[in-house]
């Protein structure tokens, strides 16, 4: 049984429990975070294509160099091993799931290393590794085949390993007294780059792509809050309530059937106490939370950097269009991270307090909304944010001590008149 820390601020009040939000979201969205693979089959196919093209290019050079090889057997076996590894990896990644098992990955890396070593052996005598290695550089690029199926670090380490082997070989292989001039060193550097860079670029690409998919998923989930009623219990509340009800049912049943002896022992009594507390909290809590609270607490991105102050639960009064605008604006302000060096980019959204002067005659009241940001400069704000804010209501912006402040007046139906 989990004991909850009491959070008084949850009743339409201050939401700062980012940690709580994140963990609950993570738990809840298990089925979603199991899907960062969305779209990666496409990336995998692209990577396969690049590797195949690279192999064709390598083989072309191999054919050109054929007559120069001192050890033709080693050169042929290097390419044979490499092609077998490439073919098997493509098949395995098609047949296998989203993630390649450790032993398969180990086999792939071992196979690539074998190809590298064989290729080195084949051209060792020529003393010009920069211009004669073919299978070895292709082997480095072949790591792209597994870039969607293994962790970034693993792929980078493997690429680094191949690069290191090549670099050491180049140093050892250099003829004694060779000069360090461009004509000798540049081809070797280029070879190293062609072996290592594809994997690095691939890792960046997959990482960025997954981030995009994750963020979009997060956003559509948060977006579904826009159509929620004024007060909603949220996605998690129902499940929690069902769980508590069920726990209570079992406890009561065990007492009714005499399985638990009366008077109860201390442990069971404390379970009953915490169940009652949790249940009570849930029955009170659920009614008071607005869509915006749920949106912020359910989203990984917003939960981390948005502080919501909405003591009177005024967010619930906004209509769907206004909610969408507010949410989009918050999303863009927070999500538009241009530099990693500004991690404390955060915004505070405050709704209310209502002032008496805000009542107007057409059955509408004006809800003052203030968005204060930290770490976001006025000229760095994406223009589409202003369009989104325009959908919420009349707004004006100002800059306070380097941070942006937007005041919005949202006209909403007066709940008293409706």
């Amino acid at each position: 049984m989990t004991t909850r820390t009491s959070h008084k601020g949850t009743l339409g009040g201050v939401v700062t429990g980012a940690g709580r939000a994140a963990s609950r979201t993570a738990r809840r969205l298990g089925h979603v975070s199991a899907q960062p693979t969305l779209g990666t089959p496409h990336l995998t196919r692209g990577a396969d294509l690049v590797v195949v093209l690279r192999a064709v290019y390598g083989i072309a050079w191999f054919a050109v160099l054929w007559n120069h090889y001192p050890a033709q057997g080693a050169a042929v076996s290097a390419w044979a091993v490499l092609l077998v590894v490439i073919a098997c990896t493509i098949v395995a990644s098609r047949a296998g799931g989203d993630r390649m098992p450790h032993w398969v990955f180990a086999l792939v890396v071992a196979g690539l290393m074998t190809a590298v070593v064989l290729d080195l052996v084949a051209v060792w005598e020529l003393r010009d590794l920069g211009s004669t290695l073919t299978a070895a550089t292709t082997a480095g690029a072949a790591l792209l085949l597994v870039v969607t199926q293994r962790g970034a670090v693993e792929v980078l380490v493997a690429a680094g390993g191949i690069g290191l082997v090549l670099a050491v070989a180049m140093i050892v292989n250099a003829p004694p007294g060779a000069s360090l001039d461009a004509d000798h060193v540049a081809p070797q550097l280029a070879t190293l780059a062609f072996a290592v860079l594809p994997a690095v670029i691939g890792v960046v690409c997959v990482h960025g792509y997954r981030g995009m998919v994750q963020r979009e998923l997060d956003r559509v989930q948060v977006q579904s809050n826009v159509s929620a009623p004024r007060y909603a219990v949220g996605m998690l509340a129902s499940e929690e309530l069902a769980r508590l009800d069920f726990a209570a049912e079992r406890l009561l049943e065990s007492i009714a059937t005499g399985k638990s002896a009366l008077p109860l022992d201390a442990a069971t009594a404390s379970i009953a106490a915490s169940l009652a507390t949790e249940l009570r909290l849930h029955l009170i809590e659920g009614r008071r939370e607005t869509w915006l609270y749920h949106a912020v607490s359910e989203s990984e991105l917003l939960g981390r950097s948005v502080t919501l102050v909405d003591k009177s639960a005024l967010a619930g009064l906004l209509d769907a269009g206004q909610r969408d605008g507010l949410l989009s604006a918050a999303w863009m302000l927070v999500g538009d991270v241009r530099k990693k060096s500004t991690p404390h980019r955060s915004i505070t959204i405050q709704l209310g307090p209502l002032t008496s002067a805000t009542a107007s005659d057409d059955h509408k009241i004006l809800v003052p909304i203030t968005m204060t940001s930290v770490g976001i400069r006025r000229n760095r704000v994406d223009p589409s944010i202003w369009a989104a804010l325009g959908r919420v209501g009349r707004y004006s912006d100002s800059t306070e001590a380097g941070s942006l402040r937007v005041d919005i007046e949202a006209a909403v139906d007066n709940p008293v008149e409706v």
């Binding site: 004509d183 670029i201 995009m212 309530l241 659920g286």
Partner: protein, 390 residues
């Protein structure tokens, strides 16, 4: 602009940065090797431009402004011009490799971001022609134009392919994500309904909570039989709730109230059931005053919950087995006075220790516009006055 399009651009920018910067670094390192640049002036100028190129690529990773692309291209072309003296000097093999890495690798990375929309593709074409033209005319003396041009084309096609490949998957992914969003919305609505159903079973939860509270005190003060009976009843109700119906506690149970379907249930009937419940637990409740008050169901709920909570406190803390409840009403208010002749307490002590009272009694009544007041002193019993509007 579409948010997903923005996200896509961000991915493309990051990839382009890795690609462009990676090749720029390798090319730059080759360029500073002895023998690559024709002289120290060229070396100094070239290094300066490489720094500019690197900076431009860093900016392209985060900024969508086309000026950075232009800067990267200009820096690259500048290096080309300086290294070859606008084509009038033959470059060494190493120097040529450095330039080739520059134009077919680093500069080609602009193609990654220049895909997706028509203006960008036009920009890509112009950039390609510009770089190819300059490269061919500048390096004609150093390397066979066919080789230079072939490698250029290969590099640019590769990076444009990467960009196109990434962009082309976005609409598909976006569609899938949208359908996940729809599913999520449906799930949210369903869960909302389910939670409301459970929460609306407030009376049920109230008896469950009361029983759980008893159990939390190990069931002391109540006969085991009565507690078992109550537990069995509550378990059955919870089971019904779990299986999808909204159970209404029935006559033999603690409440006889319908689940709020009636607009104005009668107070009298329900008070009787509260009395029965506490009777079973060993607290005799004596009613005084009117028993025929009509209240809106929401108000009635809160009123009864608060009342039961007060009686539970009496049962647990007062040390007596009898409580009096006096119900009075006037034009606007229904008032219940819960009195016992028990041990009483000092209000100053209890209000800090027993937050349950504030939460369960006062908060519930305030919800419906009512109020609660507490009077007690040690040895003089306790009186609670509950008020709700009619």
């Amino acid at each position: 602009m579409d948010l997903i399009a923005k996200e896509r651009d961000r991915v493309l920018q990051r990839v382009a940065r890795a690609y462009g910067l990676g090749f720029a670094i390798v090319s730059g390192v080759c360029f500073v090797l002895p023998g690559a640049a024709a002289g120290s002036t060229e070396l100094a100028l070239g290094v300066g431009l490489y720094v500019v190129l690197g900076a431009a690529w860093s900016m392209i990773g985060t900024s969508r402004h086309p000026i950075w692309l232009l800067l990267a291209l200009l820096a690259g072309l500048g290096i080309l011009a300086i290294a070859t003296h606008l084509g009038s000097v033959t470059v060494s093999r190493g120097g040529m490799l450095s330039l080739q890495l520059l134009v077919s690798g680093s500069l080609a990375a602009v193609a990654i971001v220049l895909t997706g929309t028509a203006p960008r593709i036009v920009g890509l074409g112009i950039a390609f022609l510009l770089v190819t033209g300059t490269a061919l005319s500048a390096t004609g003396a150093s390397q066979a134009p066919l080789r230079t041009g072939g490698l250029l084309l290969l590099g640019w096609m590769l990076s444009a392919g990467v960009g196109l490949w990434i962009s082309s998957s976005v609409p598909q992914v976006s569609k899938r994500i949208a359908s996940i969003g729809r599913a999520h919305r449906a799930e949210r609505q369903a869960s909302e309904l389910e939670a409301q159903r459970r929460q609306s079973a407030r009376l049920l939860h109230d008896t469950v909570l009361a029983t759980l509270t008893l159990l939390a005190h190990s069931g002391v003060g109540v006969t085991p039989e009565a507690l078992r009976e109550q537990a069995a009843e509550d378990a059955i109700l919870l089971r019904q709730l779990r299986l999808g119906s909204t159970p209404t506690p029935q006559a033999s149970g603690s409440y006889r109230l319908a689940s709020g379907g009636e607009a104005e249930p009668e107070l009298g009937r329900t008070l009787e059931s509260v009395k029965q419940r506490f009777g079973r637990m060993g607290l005799a409740v004596n009613w005084h005053g009117t028993g025929q008050v009509l209240l809106p169901s929401e108000v009635l709920d809160a009123f009864l919950l608060a009342l039961a909570e007060c009686l539970e406190n009496v049962r647990r803390h007062s040390g007596v087995t009898q409580a009096h409840v006096t119900i009075t009403d006037d034009a606007s208010t229904v008032r219940a006075m819960v009195t016992d002749a028990g041990v009483g307490f000092d209000i100053a002590d209890i209000e800090e220790a027993n937050l349950g009272f504030a939460e369960s009694v006062v908060a519930r009544l305030r919800d419906v516009g009512g109020n609660a007041r507490l009077f007690s002193s040690p040895g003089a019993g306790t009186t609670v006055v509950l008020e709700v509007p009619k």
